[in-house]
Symmetry: C2
Subunit: 397 residues, 2 copies
């Protein structure tokens, strides 16, 4: 089995446990920081480890353009390329093709688009999305889907969903046929041979054996626009194709927040209880806490990292726009209740100065704090699930 969800505790619809991957265990529900180009912008891998990040997300579209899949494959895959031996998930590239390309052209075969960097023409099909993600070698990879635009009429939403289902079948076929081409096989098998010849530790050998035997896991994606019935049908037919985990896609595309919530809650009811459920591209700290409490196991969002680079910080007392002059001589910590390395060491006045003076360190420190806040939020939700009683609502954080 490529990945497996071990559920240790439940509370209502929520579940806490471990996602077991070829590159380590991930405590769930989990928030996955976004490392678009094989880097969480401004944060070095040792700091991510200190923050207890257990799984990162990489963007196939961006990595396909720079440095290119072949480079990363040659280097042994993303883990080795970026020196990160914990779990990684990559998206299919579809979302960026749809959101960054005005001139994209979708056909049955796939989607033609132009690079946002140099305008060069490219073509992404289900098979190519698999080929790219196998080359990148994340632990979890995603089927190519069409992210239905909002708003969309009934026929358009159905047609789009049907296309996503046909693409899901093609993704699975290609993946099953090629999954043993993941670059770990080559590099880690070589390490295994080398370990056999040298005095490598039993741990190293056990790990290399495990990695060689494991493959990636391909997750399916539920679409269906904002129609609850289409979502139910999409879930059922995606499950019929059969994947080790399921994502809810096509949300946060401009619809009202209450509608997002209705779709998520409704769709969750149609997903298997014993497999991982991944809600893509959502959301604020309050939202990720709510969705985790509703039974979502995995989430990702650029919000904590992108907001940080714009000086918007999440704290236990609400959002802080650190650029404001009111903080210029504020000696207090950004968040008195926070034990991150930023709040433990620096004042709001210093963070405000760094941001106002456009210092690189502003982006670094703000990102570290916001990531810590998101990760701490999920730790609190996990504890709430495990506590399993009617304790204080996490949503009031």
């Amino acid at each position: 089995m490529a990945v497996r969800l071990q559920i240790d505790a439940t509370r209502g619809s929520a579940r806490a446990g471990k996602l077991i991957t070829p590159h380590g265990e991930v405590e769930t529900p989990v928030f996955m920081p976004v490392g678009t180009l094989a880097s969480v912008k401004g944060v070095s891998q040792d700091v991510l480890e200190d923050l207890d990040v257990q799984i990162l997300l990489g963007n196939t579209y961006h990595l396909y353009l720079r440095p290119g899949v072949e480079t990363i494959r040659q280097m042994g895959g993303l883990h080795r390329f970026m020196s990160w031996d914990r779990a990684i998930l990559t998206d299919s590239g579809g979302f960026q093709v749809f959101s960054l390309n005005d001139l994209r052209k979708v056909s049955e075969e796939g989607v033609a688009f132009r690079s946002h960097l140099d305008g060069s023409p490219h073509f992404l099909s289900p098979e190519k999305a698999m080929e790219a993600q196998i080359g990148l070698g994340a632990d979890i990879i995603m089927a190519l889907d069409e992210c239905t635009e909002y708003p969309a009429g009934a026929q358009r939403a159905r047609d789009s969903m049907e296309l996503t289902l046909r693409w899901a079948e093609r993704c699975k076929s290609y993946f099953e046929e090629h999954k043993h081409e993941v670059p770990w096989a080559r590099t880690e098998a070589a390490e295994l041979r080398s370990a056999g010849r040298t005095r490598a530790s039993a741990h190293t050998r056990a790990r290399a054996t495990q990695a060689v035997e494991a493959t990636q896991a391909l997750f399916g994606i539920v679409q269906g626009g904002m129609d609850l019935e289409l979502r139910r049908e999409s879930a059922g037919r995606t499950i019929d194709i059969g994947f080790p985990g399921y994502a809810i896609g096509g949300l946060s595309v401009g619809e009202p927040r209450e509608l997002t919530r209705d779709i998520v809650l409704s769709t969750l009811e149609h997903l298997p209880c014993n497999q991982p459920r991944y809600l893509m591209g959502v959301g604020t700290p309050e939202e990720i806490a709510q969705y985790a409490q509703s039974g979502v196991d995995m989430m990702d969002c650029v919000l904590p990292t992108r907001a940080a680079r714009h000086g918007l910080l999440f704290t236990s007392e609400g959002k802080v726009s650190i650029k404001q002059a009111r903080y210029a001589q504020d000696e207090s910590a950004l968040d008195a209740g926070c034990d991150c390395r930023v709040c433990q060491r620096y004042s709001r006045a210093y963070l405000r100065h760094l941001y106002a003076a456009n210092e690189l360190l502003a982006q670094v420190l703000n990102t570290v704090h916001n990531l810590h806040y998101y990760l701490a939020t999920m730790r609190t939700v996990r504890a709430w699930i495990r506590a399993g009683n009617a304790a204080r609502a996490v949503t009031t954080r």
Copy 2:
């Protein structure tokens, strides 16, 4: 005594020892990383500590404009503002006024200039340079000098040197009268009172006592253009004014490197043996090693940090321009001989990708490596001095 140089070993003209400051001891000869705006661009203070940085340089001109001296004074001075309890040196602001302002106007009284940020008019005099640096509260502060342009005629070089000498006297007068206004006095005395009331450790109390009793140290600056005789006269008359340390200024202003070297070596002979000698704004790794071997105790330069942000990295096998395509699939460490956290973890291929993709982390990691390289260079020189024998020349690093 505000700062004191303790010489533990000599070898030829070189000396190794400790600069004892109100904020800790600094092993000399020392390279001081530049933290222009109260931050070494992209590197957090805990990483600077891990790199064993013992003294940082701040730029008065930049800090005067942002966040302003009054803000930093109110916050208890630079150490407290940026959460750095090791030593700090600030320059006078003069060099930036001269190098960043085309419309500056120098008079006997001082220099009128416009902010490079918003064009607002400002005036810097010897007294104002002292007032600003006392407010910033570095351990070592610098007299306001006129950095003589290159080339300069004989009369111009003499007039400029004479102006610097008159300004040096005014700096010393103002400083002696106001040195007890350093913000530590207020904040650390308050901590001392607080420590007396609480169960603060003996260490905290001893430290607070020491800081309250200490003051800043004002260093004089030798000018005199490229004229060895003027340099000798400037040194002698600056020493007559009397400072606890002396800097060699007005170099690296466009003159040939050999000329820089001649001026430095000649000027060093005229400086006191038992006081710190600071060569300002120099140079490459080879140069800082050479100057340290010639008897310079302190140096600073933007080169390692600025070059890093442009992808130029110093290694034991020469300079590496990491943007080059030849490194795209290079799995080796940047510098096989380097034990910094970057070389220990990442490949040239990854560093090349980060730089080519304009990722923030490129600037962070490149800066950490280059700083480590400069600091390691100085560690090697210190060991060479202490070894005191005809070992391998450090200059061949």
